[in-house]
Amino acid sequence: MTSDSTTDVLLEARGISKSFPGVQALSRVDLDVRKGEVHALLGENGAGKSTLMHILAGVFSPDEGTIRMAGREVCFHDARAAQEAGVAMVFQERSLAAPLSVAENVFFGRQAVRRWGIIDRAKLHEQTRKILDDLGIAIDPATPLEHLSPAQQQMVEIAKALSLDACLLVLDEPTSTLTETETAVLFRVIERLKQRGVGIIYISHRMGEVFQICDRMTVLRDGVCQGTFAKEEVTQDELISRMVGRKSGFNRPARKRGHSTFSPAPENHPAEQAKEKRVECPLSFGEGSSALAVRDLNDGRLLQDISFVARAGEITAFAGLAGSGRTELAMSVFGARPTISGTILVHGQPVKIRSPIEAIEAGVGYLPEDRKEAGLFLEMSVAANVTAASLNRFGDWWLNDKAMERQTAAMASRMCLTADIRGRKVQELSGGNQQKVILARWLLVHPPILIADEPTRGIDVGAKQEVHQLLRELADEGTAVILISSELPEILAVADRILVMREGRLVGEMPRDGATEESIMRLAAILK
């Protein structure tokens, strides 16, 4: 630690801890920010950065620890209290009203008024212009916000923070959507803010940028502070090695050979048995053949010239930081996102995939990243959720609900989904069990290629281990499993081969042996 507590300390957070059910998000984290300083907060996805920022913004309250602003102890009960104390956040998702003007957005709900609450438009525009001029930004206050570029909108957000007399500004990945020139403008604004004595917490994955603009850096890993460094006293490599090396607690799932766990359940009724057998594990192929090959995939926005193969019997993992395009790639391969060029081959045959239906027909399954938003039918029963993607197995015209429930129960027992699921809605289950329900849906479809996007996000360690085991068993049965994960220990524990993405490009491939968190991170982070 290089900070000696001088009077110019703006924010002083000491011993901040916060836990959520099943996870210690932060433990005894210290952070101090001085006046006129840009302080980088670094860490992998899930290291605790956003939890810490949400605590500073008054969204969460810490379990323990103290926060001092300009030497005075504060306690933020809600976002408003934090705002009044001078903390302002500029998040990745913008919190502005698109159809309203710049001025209306800057003075959101606090517009200057004349008598009877009539908005004083002239004064409003004048105040806004003054703030924008101070920042050195030329935007007409009357412009509707939706006409501005993302970069300009971000400036408006910063202006809004300043109109609230913010003395501490949190910028969360501010350059992720900006071009190089826009970034330069942003950095000029940041310089001006520094001169005015505003303290800035700067969250970014881009190392080059961090070294360019920041004065000090604090590294978080697994919710624990790994130290604060002045720019001059560290190198990029040192920072990266502090960011990685998380406790994994994952054991590598054991391989089982020649033992099929996930073919459909044995049935008592011969007629149904015949019916349901039809689609049982349709293809078998030797290990090592390429089940899925993607060539030169472009989407015209983020993904650029992506080519890779996924082999049967292997778990191919995609590593990368948030926003690197892994989910977009998965959605594109699955037909849920348009592409402008590229070829997809399944078992060597070129296939046209323009919709999820065509993807499933071609033999690709996709376990979505956000299970509540894109995966589950929360108000429906477990059986309805498990059978959602394979309704055609339960009758051509009329559905056999009994068979659906039997299959679900059989699937549940195989997956150690121990909760009582009969007649229960999915929303009543725990996160881990919900994830197993979606996994069960795809095990029932049994596609030769399965993409699992963050299959263990937000579930407890025991359930994670079980999901890993299931993925491994699937691979052993001949499925080409593609795993997308933001947890490097998970990738190292589960994957056979690791592909690394950065800013919409595939930047590296490595076998599991020899890959380390550090080597993956080095590829994934933006170094200049």
């Binding site: 359940a265 044995p266 008592n268 699955f334 849920a336 919709s355 999820p356 239906i357 993807a359 499933i360 996709y366 979505p368 938003e373 894109a374 995966g375 589950l376 039918f377 929360l378 108000e379 429906m380 309805a384 959602a388 993607a389 309704l391 055609n392 339960f394 009758g395 051509d396 015209w397 009329w398 559905l399 609900d401 039997r406 129960a409 059989a410 549940a412 027992s413 195989r414 150690c416 121990t418 009582d420 699921i421 009969r422 007649g423 849906r441």
Partner: protein, 336 residues
């Protein structure tokens, strides 16, 4: 219920024979909008029978009541499919009269034979429905705006083609709607057929089950390989077809195609479907519940006439029941 991995089938059989503590889950789980509606309907029937013992509980009265609900009932069967998928259609009332008027025009001005005119009328109605579906699913205009627009377009076409209406439709057409069997008029039989078929299809068929998935989570449905857009277009097409069928039955029964017929039907039908257990959020709803909803509205109307109350009372009572029923739902879902 823990299951042994080696004996899954046994475990499942055991589980299915053991009565799970459903009852203990509470009687509250039986208090749904459907059951409350059935209870209210029975109460109204018993009450009215006690007050008007000679005139209310008669076959004649009930056949009138059923006849009055027939066209709404047919349309409600289409509407419930839309509500289950999280959609609705405001243009059904206009479609109802437009189909009748266009068929009437073909019969009288163009001298089409009745079967051909009916076929043409139904095709136009189905096309109109498909247009709604296309605007909603492909152009991605929300259902409220899209069908609010087409509602006025269809009504405009009906008035443009038919003026106030087309009377004296030929008997080759009118006899269909005026036929009787077992003392019930043909529109009632049409409703019963559509309802029985609809109940089975919605409850049991693979095709219609997908609408429940779409309504519960359209994004997840799409990612599970359900062709959401195509399914929605088909649902709107079906709605158009049923509205056309109802309009045809009505014009035929009256031997007149009225350009203002079906005015306000859309909200009455949506009310009935929601009373019957569906929700605007989608994912819920049954055909039988819907039919009870339509029957309930028709029943209240009928009782009001017996009580010699002005028709405004009908709106007041139906409106209150609707708000209370949905409020009760909120209350119940919070206590679970």
């Amino acid at each position: 219920m823990t299951m042994n991995e080696r004996e899954p089938t046994q475990a499942i059989d055991a589980a299915s024979t053991v009565a799970l503590p459903r009852w203990r889950l509470s009687l509250w789980s039986y208090v749904t909008r459907e059951t409350v509606l059935v209870a209210l309907t029975l109460a109204a029937i018993v009450g009215a029978s006690l007050v008007y013992p000679t005139s209310f509980p008669t076959f004649r009265n009930f056949s009138t009541l059923l006849r009055n609900m027939a066209t709404d009932g047919v349309m409600a069967c289409g509407m419930v499919v839309l509500l289950v998928s999280g959609m609705f259609d405001l243009s059904v009332g206009s479609m109802f009269s437009m189909a009748g008027v266009l068929t009437g025009w073909l019969l009288t001005r163009a001298q089409f034979p009745a079967p051909l005119a009916i076929l043409a009328g139904l095709s136009i109605a189905a096309l109109g429905g498909a247009l709604n579906g296309w605007i909603v699913a492909k152009v991605r205009v929300n259902a409220l705006i899209a069908t609010l627009g087409t509602m006025q377009i269809f009504r405009g076409i009906a008035v443009l083609v038919g003026g106030p209406g087309i009377a004296n439709l030929p008997s080759s057409f009118a006899r269909w709607g005026q036929a009787q069997w077992l003392g019930l008029q043909s529109p009632v039989w049409l409703m019963l057929m559509v309802a029985v078929a609809g109940q089975f299809l919605m409850a049991k068929s693979r095709f219609f089950r997908r609408y429940y998935y779409i309504g519960a989570n359209a994004k997840a449905a799409n990612l599970s390989g359900i062709p959401v857009d195509r399914m929605l277009i088909l649902a709107f097409t079906l709605m158009g077809l049923l509205a056309g069928l109802a309009g045809m039955a009505f014009a035929s029964r009256m031997a007149t195609a009225n350009s203002t017929a079906g005015d306000g039907a859309e909200l009455r039908i949506i009310t009935a479907v929601i009373l019957g257990g569906a929700s605007l959020q989608g994912g819920r709803g049954t055909v039988w519940g819907t039919l009870v909803g339509v029957f309930f509205i028709s029943l209240i109307n009928n009782v009001m006439i017996f009580a010699r109350l002005s028709p405004e009372w009908q709106s007041i009572v139906i409106g209150m029941v609707l708000v209370l029923a949905v409020a009760m739902d909120r209350f119940l879902s919070r206590r679970v």
